[in-house]
């Protein structure tokens, strides 16, 4: 009832005159000129609106911390059925063959985020899904060699630190925080912003990957040790 009344309000449907004309045009025109990056969405989240993404990385990391605080207990417990190695030869071999391929694709997505859809979030989530696959098919114990459980939260913290560190370096060298054109790399101004976006995307990928694996491990073992 409420939404039927509110539905009279949005004026533009699919045959749309553009809804927000002013800032959006500046971003479209300025993306190649300011940052030498064809992907406008990546420029927007990592450069023009970089503080938003920094806050979001911190939110994701604190969600991982909240899961850890809620669930972890010092009592010992068994690993549930989902975390035991499945004895099936087919899934074993296919998983072992697929994990490196998916990880290579994830690295491609992170580094090619300037020129095609992609970037830090997608790449980090893809690497996290390979680790989740290994935990479920190969068994919780055996996949510790691929990615130990204790590494999850520190890696998430490292991701947030890389992001905040890039901003701080820009502050040290005379500019505003997170203004990549002041990084001390000795390149022209738009290439500096290109490299700044790359560093920041790598930080975001680490953050997302560490946190997702940490949440999964807490939920799988129920927080209990071993």
């Amino acid at each position: 009832m409420l939404l039927a009344a509110g539905a009279g309000l949005p004026l533009y449907g699919d045959p749309t005159a553009p809804a927000s004309l002013h800032v959006s045009d500046d971003y479209v025109r300025g993306s190649m000129v300011d940052a030498h990056t064809p992907n406008i969405v990546t420029t927007m989240i990592a450069d023009y609106r970089g503080f938003d993404t920094l806050g979001e990385t911190m939110v994701v990391f604190s969600a991982g911390l909240a899961c850890m605080l809620l669930l972890r207990t010092p009592e010992r417990g068994r690993i549930p059925t989902l975390g035991r190695p499945k004895g099936n030869v087919i899934t074993d071999i296919v998983t072992r063959a697929m994990i490196p391929v998916i990880q290579l694709f994830a690295l491609y997505v992170v580094f090619h985020g300037h020129y095609s859809p992609g970037g830090g979030f997608q790449g980090g989530a893809l690497i996290a899904t390979t680790i989740l696959l290994a935990r479920m098919v190969l068994g919780f114990e055996h996949s510790q060699a691929l990615f130990p459980t204790a590494l999850g939260t520190p890696l998430g913290l490292a991701g947030v630190a890389i992001y905040a560190g890039v901003g701080f370096v820009a502050l040290l060298f005379g500019g505003n925080a997170l203004d990549y054109s002041y990084l001390p790399l000795g390149l022209p101004k738009d290439m500096l912003r290109n490299w700044g976006i790359l560093f920041v995307e790598i930080g975001v990928a680490f953050g997302v990957m560490g946190t997702l694996v940490s949440i999964f491990d807490d939920l799988l073992t129920g927080g209990r040790r071993a």
Binding site: D14, P38, A63, G64, L70, L71, L212
Partner: protein, 129 residues
């Protein structure tokens, strides 16, 4: 309340509102706490869909600059809602993770995740409620 204007020119908004209402129904009416988490996910998907429908333009392409369209803003889909929604999706996954951790704690403490049973057991534990 102009229903014809809503249906003819703006029908994606109508479907998005229907999805919103389904998600809201799931969160409010269902008794099982896990179904409430499902409703939360449906609700988040519908909200993000609402923003993406706002950003669409007829005859426009993906917001990656290429040589054919140059830098004409009318040829590209509006990229600002896309950027906002990328963070919204990741935050929704983190929120779902924390909600599930809460569910496991509730099950461990009370032995049930059904809302009616839960209220009964809370009342038994603390007779003043």
């Amino acid at each position: 309340m102009d229903i014809t204007a809503l249906v003819t020119g703006r029908w994606p908004y109508l479907f998005t509102i229907v999805l919103l209402l389904i998600g809201l129904y799931g969160m409010l009416v269902k008794q099982n706490l896990m179904k409430k988490v499902f409703g939360l996910n449906i609700f988040q998907g519908a909200i993000i869909l609402f923003f993406i429908v706002h950003a669409y333009k007829h005859g426009a392409t993906v917001p990656v600059l290429d040589d054919i369209s140059g830098t004409d803003p009318a040829r590209y889909v509006n990229p600002i809602p896309h950027g906002l929604m990328l963070t919204a999706i990741v935050v929704s996954v983190a929120t779902t993770g924390v909600a599930l951790a809460l569910l496991i704690r509730i099950y461990r403490t009370f032995g049930t995740i059904d809302e009616k049973d839960l209220l009964v057991r809370l009342r038994d534990e603390d007779p003043q409620r």
